[in-house]
Symmetry: C2
Subunit: 515 residues, 2 copies
Amino acid sequence: IEVTEKDPCYCCRILMKQAVSVKGVWPLPQSFTISSERYPLNPQAFYFAYGKQSAAQEGCSVLDEAFKRYFSLIFPDYISAYSILQFSEDQPFTVQVSVGLDDCDGYPDENSSEQLYTLCLSTGLETFSQLVYQEDFGSYFVNKTEIEDFPRFQFRGILLDTSRHYLPVRAILKTLDAMAFSKFNVFHWHIVDDPSFPYQSRTFPDLSAKGAFHPMTHIYTQSDVRRVISYARMRGIRVLPEFDSPGHTQSWGKGQSDLLTPCYRGSTPSGTFGPVNPALPSTYKFMATLFKEVSSVFPDSYIHLGGDEVNFSCWKSNPDVRAFMQKMGFGTDFTKLEAYYMENIVNITTALNKTSIVWQDVFDYHERIPKDTVLHIWKGDPASYEAELSRITKAGYRVLLAAPWYINHISYGQDWRNYYTVQPLNFSGTEEQKKLVIGGEVCMWGEYVDATNLTPRLWPRASAAAERLWSDEKQTSNVDKAFPRLQDFRCKLLRRGIQAEPLFVGHCKHEYQGV
Amino acid sequence: IEVTEKDPCYCCRILMKQAVSVKGVWPLPQSFTISSERYPLNPQAFYFAYGKQSAAQEGCSVLDEAFKRYFSLIFPDYISAYSILQFSEDQPFTVQVSVGLDDCDGYPDENSSEQLYTLCLSTGLETFSQLVYQEDFGSYFVNKTEIEDFPRFQFRGILLDTSRHYLPVRAILKTLDAMAFSKFNVFHWHIVDDPSFPYQSRTFPDLSAKGAFHPMTHIYTQSDVRRVISYARMRGIRVLPEFDSPGHTQSWGKGQSDLLTPCYRGSTPSGTFGPVNPALPSTYKFMATLFKEVSSVFPDSYIHLGGDEVNFSCWKSNPDVRAFMQKMGFGTDFTKLEAYYMENIVNITTALNKTSIVWQDVFDYHERIPKDTVLHIWKGDPASYEAELSRITKAGYRVLLAAPWYINHISYGQDWRNYYTVQPLNFSGTEEQKKLVIGGEVCMWGEYVDATNLTPRLWPRASAAAERLWSDEKQTSNVDKAFPRLQDFRCKLLRRGIQAEPLFVGHCKHEYQGV
């Protein structure tokens, strides 16, 4: 595996003079030539090694770990204790890995050398691992294969929602494993929302102590968060935290008084609360402190600020908010108040050197947002998200498409076909506009999902979107041709311990062995 | 717990002078009075015992096992090794169990004393176990409660389909556990179908050797089947096997030549096969031998013969079948041929002293079927299954309703509400006709289901149907009132190791403890 620097943005050139396959690789590489010539692989005489010209060498944590991990993935039934006793007469088979940049301690990030390094490298190993196959008598083989590969979109994300239901850390790590297998590279952690606030803040510990479902068992400690980020880094996955406001913040109010807007019935407070109170200076002080912490805890250069679905009725009912509106000259236009709030929040994160991602609502209703803000499209059917793609990119903003991949919405049958046939660039706009689509995201909202059903509901349905985001659309336009490849990939997921659900009638070769 | 013989059919009178609850019991007992007076339960001083007047006494396998099982279910975090070291000062709390009939070695069966015995007994223990609750500091309590209970319908089944996907035995056993928790009492084992034939027959071993997905790993051996039946018996659950024919038999043809009809293209065989060949005497000889084996392997007095969705096109194409039609005087009416076939099969099982269940198609298209045959309604929306209920019961046949409970059909949101609000007796007919509805069945067809997603897809959605089939419809007509009870029950399932999916946003008290 060689990673060259031909393309400064992405470029993974995987030259496998000896390489692999039966049904191939998912998602489909950009260019892929497989010959019938095959080589046996013997686990006892198989090595990963750093190429002589590689900038990274032994001791590089990301690569050393990846070598170990992929050895087990390639030879799932290899028992080392047993095999060590045997004398191997095979020729050693060495996969040489070379990278142009030594950046072993960094985090994967957008457009950065880390991405060139970690992303390409781990996807290269993933591709190689998928090319190895096992025959009925247990021998492993790899066909002579030449692959040149790079992702179509730089941002290929999965959103997990840990507020509507708490997800234990092990469920998140399992998802990160499976994400790497499908070449997803961003874990969008929708960590808090109305129902619960599981993030244990250093500066505001009451937020989880009072806002989590349970203050001890249903929280993410700082060490949990570090573990998730580190596990993701090893797999070339960025962790994008979302602290959605001013709406979707009911749980915040439990541990932080005076943050939410008291709603009124007539002239008296009703006892319920609405969105974050945008009329109080204390709100912005609190947010600045919180986001300062969040910015240091999460190393990614992006941060998701939410900004969706703000209900104005509580703001309207509150006399202090109305007075603030007058003072600011907003009249009765509450979108101006919302815009004012979001601008303040975006300015906070900008000052912290972070790029903001916000839901499309912020573009729909606001005017002044920094040009490097990314708009996240989540609403509607193809007609309406295509129009939105057109509008937002015309205004010069970068966009991220989530609308067609709300994978929490389930239906009977092979709905992966819908995720597969999305055409993210099928909107009216110039070539320049199309370049502003930085990628897409599969969203698993948590109303009906927790650790009991997350994995089979996510996989392999999300993998359909993964191929759309990674591969060349022209080469992957036929959903019926994709079907047997995806079935094969689902069996690979199963063999790797991911409880991916079946696509249709049938079985996997390696399931229930020895049961 | 006392089981009396007031009603010869069902009758479980559970008198718990000391008994239990918070959110109560699912499915709802017929009569239920709970007082606020509560008693602490200490696992070290808690016993199940046989009443002095009980016909069954120690050594009764079903009860001895149930006592052990329910002790652990009632005290999930009790570690006996630790507790034995402590001296208990509590008053011992003994649950006395008395039964009117000593039938410890029988199988649960329809209308039989076994049912009175096993069914009532195990449901009584289940009810009691659900009434025990644990407080925050770990203590267990039970409120003084009086319950009188019996099921609304005698047949409360779950169908699993082990042909479209193989389900390992442990997945079936897990389902039997969860069935008992929801008071289901029939496991309808749709064991073979078109895609695979996993049943390893003693007399025709080639059926699975050639017709299973894999001849070693994807089969049910005789010992597997015995294990399932025995595990079910211990939980008061009948095992109803289905060997569906003449359609749905593609996999049978692989191990039994000359069984399926060769299809013709014009005057030559096309190489494909259709339904079982009804024109050959060898067919009936084979079926008689197979069903003789099946009848002895499966002790239940019922057997499911299928009979659904027979496609006539292959029969029509085959000159031998057409010649047989002429000889029999059927003209060109292929429903007569199908009727002829089904009559022969029903006669075979009748001769083996089994009662037949067949899908509704057999009633729709045929004339002469024995009056004790049960028709299984699977088609259509409420309007059409209500009409079918009316028609079939008017003809004097017993029916089983499955149509509204095709739980493999999934949709977004709380579709359990649809299963809950079914009114099985809401069809035009006399009181006598209504009595012919023996029960209902939740069907989990296997096109998109295997061991990866079975449990969260089945539970707690199937539990909604369980309450409809067990409880009084008038007392359980409000779906919103049922919601918190079902949520609570789902948490109980989770604590008992059943990966039941969430109904909506929230968490369970005992989930992720110590994680």
